[in-house]
Structure formats: structure tokens, C-alpha cells
């Protein structure tokens, strides 16, 4: 073996780079690398030439300069004197806000529609099929525009709430649905309010621990512990006890009509609402299909087998069907979440200031720093996408069928 290998080495000819399988792959890779480097060099050279001709340079110093524009929907303090960097952060938070809210609501829509599409009620199943087809086959941009127009047309303006005999009234005197957005009560923390919040978070953790414990007891000893009532008790009793013991440390600030507009409370802008609703109902149609496919992927024999073991319908769903269906549902569900996040960049169409609207929109136009802003924009979306795919891969590995 070694002899022949040495003989081959000694007989190396240049033509073997093409004809010999052992060397050919290196030739190809080298060529590919060369082509790539040449392409990069070509693009880089052009970039330098063009920048020099235009008297520009690549610099991120503009991020420290005052932005000079206003953003009405914001989660953190911001005014027109804040820097471009701050404006970008506001945009990032707005993107994340609409993405998280959208994912939650899209899941809700999708699960309901997916389950109802398999319903044995003919008319409901057909309505859900129509919903899925209509929303999947019309561009999301058109949906965003339609739903934005719908909100503006269907909801009353704040002035409709004025007067002794107003056309519109507030729901429970707390929520006002107007064409400019929804006004709702804002929680106000007094002294000790955080203790109540902490108690609430602790009880959530406690519920999680208790459910795991109940499941473990079921699998180890075959003893069924009650889950629903203890969970509800853990959820409400400690928090409410804290709340009243500390003397109601959390209050609500209600929105009230002052002049031509509402003051106080939380104002969710119409642009946020219409974008949120449009994205979630559009993505919900896709999720509905995933949910349906996931449920149908669990063969009927599984539920029949579980029933013949004497499990009750609720338990069949929880212990047999759902774990298997989720394995099919979750991966496309996550990629739908990613799509929703990427589609949220269409916020610019309704004037919601997400990262594409602030950094990729106004900042770009004001500073003219096209390359820098778009690189930052892409880096942001890439980080989110790759981060979520990494988490998804870990999850997929943890739930995949373990071959024995």
C-alpha cells in the first residue's frame, strides 16, 4: 500500500490535477475559491472607486448624531434630539413588539382554524377552508393595507365619544376603540407593587414545577394527581393574598377624554394594531395548515389504542396525540414565526416605525449612509433568524424519535 502510494506521489504530473479523482476535487475547490476572491475583489474595488468618486467613506459615526425626527409609537424614552442609535433601538423594540404579539395571536388563530377545519361540522370546516385559502393566496402587503383601511373606516374617531349623548361609548369605561388606536388602562405601581408581581412570577414557576411533578408521579407510580384545580389555586391564591395584604399596591390609570383626544392610560396606535392583526391573521392561515397536517399525521390507530387501554378522551389528547402531533407541527410553526418577523418589515406601508422604518427608512434618507444602514438592518434580521433556527435545531434534536 505505502509503496504504491509513494510510487503515485513520485509520478505526479500536472495533468493529474484534472484527470485524477484524488486531486481533481482540490483543483475545483481552488478554482471556486479563486473565482469567489476575484468577485469579492471586483466588487470591493468598484465600491472603493464609487465611494471615492462620490466623496464618501464608510463610517458609523452618524449613529451618534441627533436623529431629528419623531417616533410616535415607542417603548422607551425617545425624542427628536435623541441619537440615530437610539432611534434604531426604538425601531428594534417595535419590531420585536409586533413580532411577539403577532406570533402569539397567529398561533391562536392558527390552532383554532386548524382544529375547526377538521371539525365534523360541515359549515364550520368549509368556512375555515375558505379562510385559509383566501389568506394564503393574497399578498400580505395587500392584507396589511386592507386591514388598515378597515380599522380606519370601522372604528369611530375620538370625537364620537364626546357630548352628553355620544355615538360611541367606552367598554367598561376602561377601553376605547377608536380609529386612532385603542386606549386601555395602564397599571400603576405604588409601593410594594413589585412584591405582587414577584409573587405572580413565582407562582407561575410553581405551577410549572407542580405539573412536572404530577407527570413524573404518573409515569413512575401510575398515580394520577389532580392538575387543573391545584394549578388554578397556585395561580391565584398567593398573588391575590399578597395584593390584599399589602393594601392594593397596584392601581389602574384609566384613559379619559380630554378635549379632542384621550389622555392617560396606554395608547396602542392604530398602525400597530392593524399591522399586528394583519400579520397574525395572515400567518394564522399558514399555521392552520400546519396544525391540520400535524393532527392528521397521527394515525387513528394511536387514539384507538389509547382508548382501548382505558384512557379518557382528555388524557388521550394530552398524553398520546399532542406529543406526536407537536413533533410534526413545531418545526414549520417556528419557520412561520420567522416569516412573520420578516414580514413585519412591511410596517413601513402603514407608517409603523419598526427597524426598517427608522434605520432603513428615515435615518437612511437623512444621512445618505445607505451601505452602513442596510448592513446593520441585515445584521439585525440575520441575528434573529439564525438565533431562532439554532434554538429550533436544539429543540428538534431533543424531540426527534430516538431509535433503539
Amino acid at each position: 500500500m505505502s509503496l504504491s502510494a509513494q510510487a503515485d506521489m513520485s509520478e505526479f504530473r500536472l495533468s493529474m490535477l484534472i484527470n485524477d479523482k484524488r486531486y481533481r476535487s482540490y483543483t475545483f475547490q481552488f478554482l471556486a475559491l479563486m473565482v469567489l476572491i476575484c468577485l469579492m475583489a471586483f466588487l470591493g474595488w468598484n465600491l472603493m472607486q464609487n465611494l471615492a468618486a462620490a466623496g464618501l467613506n464608510i463610517s458609523y459615526s452618524f449613529l451618534g448624531e441627533p436623529a431629528g425626527y419623531d417616533i410616535n409609537q415607542r417603548l422607551i424614552e425617545y425624542n427628536s434630539q435623541s441619537t440615530h442609535w437610539r432611534a434604531s433601538v426604538v425601531g428594534v423594540l417595535n419590531t420585536l413588539l409586533v413580532a411577539v404579539l403577532g406570533c402569539l395571536m397567529a398561533t391562536l388563530f392558527g390552532v383554532i382554524a386548524g382544529v375547526l377545519r377538521l371539525s365534523n361540522n360541515w359549515i364550520v370546516a368549509k368556512i375555515m377552508a375558505v379562510y385559509v385559502e383566501i389568506f394564503r393566496n393574497i399578498p400580505v402587503l395587500i392584507w396589511i393595507l386592507i386591514i388598515n383601511a378597515l380599522f380606519l373606516a370601522a372604528l369611530p374617531q375620538p370625537r364620537a365619544f364626546r357630548g352628553d349623548n355620544p355615538e360611541a361609548t367606552m367598554l367598561f369605561d376602561a377601553f376605547a376603540f377608536t380609529g386612532r388606536g385603542i386606549y386601555m388602562p395602564k397599571p400603576v405601581m405604588y409601593e410594594g407593587g413589585w412584591i405582587v408581581v414577584a409573587a405572580f412570577i413565582l407562582s407561575l414557576i410553581a405551577i410549572f414545577v407542580y405539573r412536572r411533578y404530577a407527570r413524573k408521579t404518573l409515569f413512575d407510580h401510575g398515580v394520577v394527581l389532580p392538575v387543573l384545580w391545584p394549578s388554578l389555586a397556585i395561580l391565584f391564591v398567593p398573588t391575590l393574598a399578597m395584593f390584599f395584604l399589602l393594601g392594593s399596591p397596584i392601581g389602574l390609570e384609566y384613559p379619559a377624554l380630554k378635549g379632542f383626544n384621550f389622555k392617560g392610560g396606554i395608547w396602542a396606535r392604530g398602525s400597530l394594531l392593524s399591522l399586528w392583526f394583519a400579520l397574525s391573521i395572515y400567518t394564522g392561515a399558514f399555521i392552520a395548515e400546519n396544525v391540520r397536517a400535524g393532527i392528521q399525521a397521527v394515525s387513528k390507530g394511536q387514539s384507538e389504542a389509547a382508548a382501548s387501554l382505558g384512557l379518557r378522551p382528555g388524557r388521550i389528547m394530552n398524553l398520546v396525540i399532542l406529543p406526536q402531533a407537536l413533533r410534526v407541527i413545531i418545526p414549520p410553526l417556528i419557520s412561520n414565526y420567522l416569516n412573520l418577523t420578516k414580514n413585519s418589515s412591511l410596517a413601513i406601508a402603514v407608517g409603523y416605525m419598526d427597524i426598517t422604518g427608522t434605520l432603513g427608512g428615515i435615518t437612511l434618507n437623512q444621512t445618505g449612509r445607505a451601505i452602513e444602514t442596510i448592513l446593520l438592518l441585515m445584521a439585525f434580521y440575520l441575528t434573529i433568524s439564525l438565533g431562532i433556527s439554532a434554538i429550533m435545531n436544539v429543540y428538534n434534536n431533543s424531540i426527534k424519535l430516538k431509535g433503539r
Binding site: 360541515w122 395587500i142 386592507i146 418589515s345
Partner: protein, 428 residues
Amino acid sequence: MTEQVTAFVRHTPLPPSPPPASQTGMVKWLRENLFSSVFNAILTVLALYFIYKILAGFIPWMMNGVWNTSSIAECYAVLNGKRGGCFSVLTERWHQLIFGFKYPSDQYWRPSLSFILLLISVAPVLFSKLPRKMLLITAIYPFLAYWLIWGGTVIVPLIGLLGFVGGFKVFQAMAQQKFAVGFFAATFAALLIWYLGSYLSAPLSNFIALEAVPSRDMGGFMLNIILGTVCVSLSVPLGILLALGRQSDLPVIRVICVVFIEFIRGVPLITLLFVANVVLAYFLPPGTNFDLILRVIIMITLFSAAYIAEVIRGGLAALPTGQYEAAGSLGLDYAQSMRLIILPQALKISIPGIVNVAVGLFKDTTLVSIISMFDLVGMIRGPILASTEWNGIYWELLGFAAVLFFIVCYGISQYSQWLERQLATDHR
């Protein structure tokens, strides 16, 4: 004591009695499908109420619709307080919605003709039962459509076509010995023809020429269709190459493909369109001036190629390893085994996925309105809603756009399901 008992024997069978009323016909169907339980009955009533509300709002709006006025004020005057749609915006601005507002109006027959030809030339690709000779039309179509829509002399697309034909002939002659030799020789031949042809097209710029229309004058639904068809047909070959590269044994090529695909899939299309709009010009040689539509086509093609590559990778991964080994054991080299054994099967599996990507891509062509190109949505948001005559007409216009897209996309997805049934060779 025997008694003679006359046994009664019925000679004719009783006529079958009809099933109980609750077990047949309409009643049974209603009972099983709509009112099988209390919960279901409630759902049914709610659903019926929902449908009633929608129809009650929609039908008068459609029925009272006004189709022939020239502004919103006139339309409201005709409606006179009734609920109804001002569909006259569609009839009055029909040409703008379909062709954009700059395309010369006496030349509308050109895009219309190319659209009809598009249907004809796509047919043999979609339906394998049609005669294979029709594929010739498909091959000529891109050049013909280019000439029809953009105009100018017929020499330019003709030379383009000649380059491909020459390259193909050279490939046929040379590929007997080796795929790579044939491929490079064909590329060289095509480039040579195009280079020589470029000397010919300038002096003959009036030879059988149509009125030239610059790219920036394209608009309306026509622009959506152009972007959709061009980008899908360009991105399929690119996607195949990327998928093969990602499956390749050569680490350098694999890494390049993986980085490209993951990068493109990680960013929204709108950022790539921003790149096409403001950044791409910086990366081209100084002095070159690509028009926007071409830059947008490049970026959308790269975008959908990455998605198609992932679909085809799924198809490649679904083939049993035995197929690869069998191809190898027949002594086929990489190019031959891919061309003859692997790709035909893998592509067949991936067709539904590719069609899904194509539908998604077609829907995404509306995004060009955000970089201020006047496609269908751009026309609606821009010139039409901004005009004094039609300021305030949302529902009719957006509804029209929605209906157009729905027809095309639903049609394509129905075709894809039909094709899936046709291609199902496993007998289940």
C-alpha cells in the same frame, strides 16, 4: 285428532319500507354534519349568522355598484346616499392598473399579446400530455416577449437567441467526450456570438423595430407578472446549482453555498430590495447604469433561488442512497449521474415545493411598491389614490388587487395539487 292447518306462505316479498325520516336525505345529512351535538349546533348557528352578516354587507355593496362615472364625487352623486361600491374607478383606470401609467397607450396590444403567448408557451411545461414540439415555442418565447414588451430592433433578442442556439449546438457536438469540455465550449461559443452580434445591433437599430419602451415605464399588474415569471424561471436553474453545491463533497463549495443560502433566507426581501434600490449601484463598475427593474430582478432571483435550493435539497435528501450508489456502479461520472439519475427524480419530488415558492414569490412582487416602483399595489397607493378624482376609494381598488392575486395564486396552487396526484407513482 289431527287438524288440517293450512300454512300460509307468502309468495311475493314485502316491498321494502322506506327508512325512517331521520335516517335519510337532507335530515340525516343536517343531523350528522351540522347538529350532531349541542356544541355543534351552536357553532352552526354562529357560522350562519357570520355568513349572513358578511353577505348582508357585501351584496348591496356589489349590487348598487357604480361602474361608469369619472370621479368619486360623481359616483357619490349617483349613489345618492345608498351603500354601494364605486367600481367606476376600475373601469376608468383599468389601463393604469394593468399596464402602469407611463406605458404608451397605443402600444397596449404588445403586452397583451405577450401575455396570451405566455399562456401558450407555459402550457407544454405544465401539461406533459401536450405535444413536445410546443416546447419550441417555449424556447423562443422569452426573446419574443422581450422584443414585444421593451420594443426596439428585433436584432437584439435574435442575437440572444442565436447565442443560445449556437451554444447548444456546440454542446451537443462536444459533450460526447466530456460534460465539462462541452459546457465550457458552449459558453465560449455563446459569448462569441453575443460579442460579434453587439457590433451588428447598433447600426441596424431600426431593422424591424417596435417603439422602444424604457423599463421605468413598466407598471401595473404587468410588472408583477413580468417580475414573477422572469424571476421564477431564472431562479430554478440557480436553485438547482445551489442545492447541488450544498450537497457537494467539496467543503469549500459547500460552505459558499450554505453561507449564501442562509444569508438570503435570514433577511426579509424588503432589505434586498433596498439593496437593489440604493446600494447595488455602488458595487458595479463606475459608469455602468443598470435600470432599477433589472437590479430588482437580480435581487428577487437570488432571493427565490435560495428558497428553491432548500426545496430541491429536500428532494435530493429524500432519494434513497441506493440511487446514488447505483449511478456510481454503472460507471457514470458526477455530471452524468446527476443529469440522468438523480435530478429527474429529485426534481419530481420537489415540484410541489417549487410551486409553493413560486406562489410566494409572485405575492412578494408587490413589495416593489415600497421602493416606489409602480406595480399594481404601487399604482393604487400612488397615482390613483393621490389623484383628486379618486382620493378615498380604498375598498374597490384593494379588493380588485386581492381578487387578481387570488385568481392567479389559487390557480397555481390547484395546479400543483393536480400535478401531485398525477406524479404519484406509488400505488397507495
